[in-house]
């Protein structure tokens, strides 16, 4: 394979992996910490994309949207959590699925009522328009921005989860909730905070994705399955798992399309099925991690 072509495809894979990561990390930690299967995570992503559209329509810049929309998404996500999601916290995955599917249906229709049925677009900021030269390959600047943003956030999250008190609390909660509670940690508060951060990151993902993917009703459902796959392949509740899962699925998706175009759609599922046959609780689950270390 031509090295330039290969480099371009690696960049494509990385770019897609970063977008998956932004959505996966919040879902994974919420899942790992509280055993909560929140299918409405994608709805927050969609909501933020629509908010970004509103901000740019109102004359705001893309950067203003990037600043405001995730915060708003996070606030709405938290509100949703306290008003609805929390009520079935103890009722198991199935009640959670029913409730969050209800939220997806309502959210999608509400956005349809407010914004109409037609897809919307958000423009890339002027200086990120077009392509630039990367080692001899003309590559879209905005995609490089996504890669950079993703890497930066991985760093920030690493520090947050591994080097701060909050991170220690989260990890303690994921490891053994009961013990953490007997040690006087208010897991409910930690969880709410984690939920808010997860919603913020999903919102960030929505704003960043809007110029590349467009904004339309149903954009949540089109990604949520991929993100769930990332989460289970990576293993629940760990940053490392979310990163590894995103990269694996991002690369599998991109290279599946080039190498096995006939089976492009199956490639991801194959990776997942194989991963789970050999590691039934994901590649880097938080619990196994802590037991080993």
């Amino acid at each position: 394979m031509d090295p330039n072509f290969l480099l371009e495809q690696v960049l494509n894979s990385l770019q897609f992996s970063m977008l998956l990561f932004l959505l996966a990390i919040g879902l994974s930690v919420v899942f790992g910490l509280m055993d909560y299967l929140n299918l409405a995570h994608g709805t927050v992503y969609m909501l933020a994309a629509y908010l970004a559209f509103s901000v740019t329509q109102a004359g705001g810049s893309f950067w203003m949207a990037l600043l405001l929309a995730p915060i708003a998404a996070s606030a709405i996500g938290l509100l949703l959590y306290y008003a609805l999601l929390k009520r079935v916290e103890q009722q198991g995955h199935l009640a959670q699925v029913l409730l969050t599917v209800g939220v997806i249906y309502m959210g999608t229709d509400l956005l349809r009522i407010v914004y109409g049925d037609l897809p919307k677009g958000v423009s890339v900021p002027a200086f990120l328009e077009g392509a630039t030269n990367v080692l001899g390959v003309a590559y879209p600047k905005y995609r490089l921005f996504i890669i950079a943003l993703g890497l930066a956030l991985m760093g920030v999250l690493y520090v947050l989860l591994e080097r701060t008190r909050l991170g220690a609390l989260v990890r303690a909660g994921v490891d053994d909730r009961d013990t953490a509670e007997t040690l006087g940690i208010d897991i409910a508060k930690v969880f709410a905070l984690v939920f808010a951060i997860g919603a913020y990151l999903a919102g960030l993902g929505g704003v960043v994705a809007a110029p590349v993917f467009g904004v339309y009703p149903g954009m949540d459902v089109s990604v949520i399955i991929l993100v769930l796959i990332v989460v289970v392949v990576g293993g629940l509740g760990s940053l490392g798992g979310a990163i590894l899962g995103s990269l694996l699925i991002g690369f599998a998706d991109t290279f599946g399309k080039i190498l096995l175009p006939q089976f492009a759609m199956m490639m991801i599922y194959l990776v997942m099925a194989l991963a789970l046959i050999f590691r039934p609780s994901g590649l880097l689950p938080a619990r196994r991690f802590s037991q080993a270390g």
Binding site: L98, V101, Y269, P280
Partner: protein
């Protein structure tokens, strides 16, 4: 009245209700009754699996296997529909057995995702399949020919009647399965797989058996569904279809068998009534899901049974007897 008697009376009442409604309803209502009965059979298959503590998010894949085998044999090869039904069930059993060999090693959310992945692979194949006309689907799927016993299944009333009766038979059979030693072991696995395993129970084999049987029933539902619509398309196996049946079971109450049937009827009815009444009807459907999840997290039947148990406990032991 014991818990089981109450549960079964709900099922019997539901089936009788469907039969009575079918007798007096118009064509379109009969169409809906048939649809609900087929979804109910599908829901029963998922609920049987749930008895062993596993929940599938890819059950529509098995529905699709049944539908495609039936459609392939009858439309493409021109074989008689009766053979098609048998082959569909056999195919469902076989596919579920093979998939189960590796899938039932996982549990919980991981099982949910593995089943989803397998179903999506089937969907991907069906979506592109030239033989089956890909995403556009294939019409002209025939119905079972029962003219020899004087029944024309092309009559909506007769087809709905047949679907309801078949649903009743499947339900009765699954009740027997659940009450058998096999079924009781599945229930024990659901409650505590680790303990069953420690006591020497072969958790894997039991779960595999449950998944296999469930696959056969799901494929039967698939073969019925394509007969009902006379049409075969990949939508049959999409994850929306998997989600629909899962929601039917959760609304009705998982692990109660009857709940799946009630949930199926409720879902079909709700969708039809809402989509005919209001625009943006998903808003209302979503609100109903949320309400059920919060008010009755065990589902309609599950919550009713729990309420029943609690009341009986109170009356048996007096007001102070609570908490026992």
């Amino acid at each position: 009245m014991t818990r089981h008697m109450l549960r079964r009376s709900i099922g019997v009442a539901l089936l009788i209700g469907a039969l009575v409604a079918n007798r007096f309803a118009g064509f379109f209502a009969q169409d809906l009754i048939a649809e609900a009965a087929i979804l109910a059979i599908f829901a029963l298959s998922l609920d049987l699996l749930a008895t062993s503590g596993l929940v599938s998010f890819g059950h529509a894949g098995l529905l699709g296997v049944g539908g495609y085998i039936f459609g392939g044999l009858t439309v493409l090869l021109g074989l008689p529909p009766a053979l098609g039904v048998l082959a569909a069930v056999a195919g469902g059993l076989a596919v579920a057995f093979v998939v189960g060999l590796f899938a039932v090693r996982t549990t919980g959310a991981f099982f949910i995702m593995v089943t989803l992945a397998v179903a999506e692979m089937f969907f991907a194949w069906a979506f592109r399949s030239r033989m089956f006309n890909g995403a556009d689907g294939m019409g002209g799927v025939p119905r079972l020919d029962l003219t020899s016993i004087g029944v024309d299944l092309n009559d909506p009333a007769a087809f709905a009647l047949g679907a309801v009766l078949l649903c009743a038979v499947i339900w009765a059979l699954l009740e027997l399965v659940v009450a058998s030693p096999f079924g009781r072991t599945l229930d024990a696995i659901r409650q505590n797989a680790g303990r069953v395993s420690a006591l020497g129970g072969r958790v894997f084999a039991y779960r595999l058996a449950a998944f296999t049987v469930s696959g056969g029933v799901a494929a039967l539902a698939g073969a019925l569904k394509v007969q009902h619509t006379n049409f075969l398309s990949p939508d049959l196996a999409s994850w929306f279809a998997s989600g629909d049946v899962l929601i039917a079971v959760v609304i009705g109450g998982i692990g109660t068998l009857v709940g799946g049937m009630l949930g199926a009827a409720a879902l079909v009815l709700l969708k039809d009534v809402l989509s005919g009444m209001v625009g943006h009807w998903y808003l209302f459907l979503g609100a109903i899901f949320i309400t059920v999840a919060i008010a009755m997290p065990q589902g309609l039947v599950g919550s009713l049974l729990n309420y029943w148990d609690a009341r009986r406990a109170r009356t048996a032991k007096g007001p102070e007897g609570e908490g026992a």
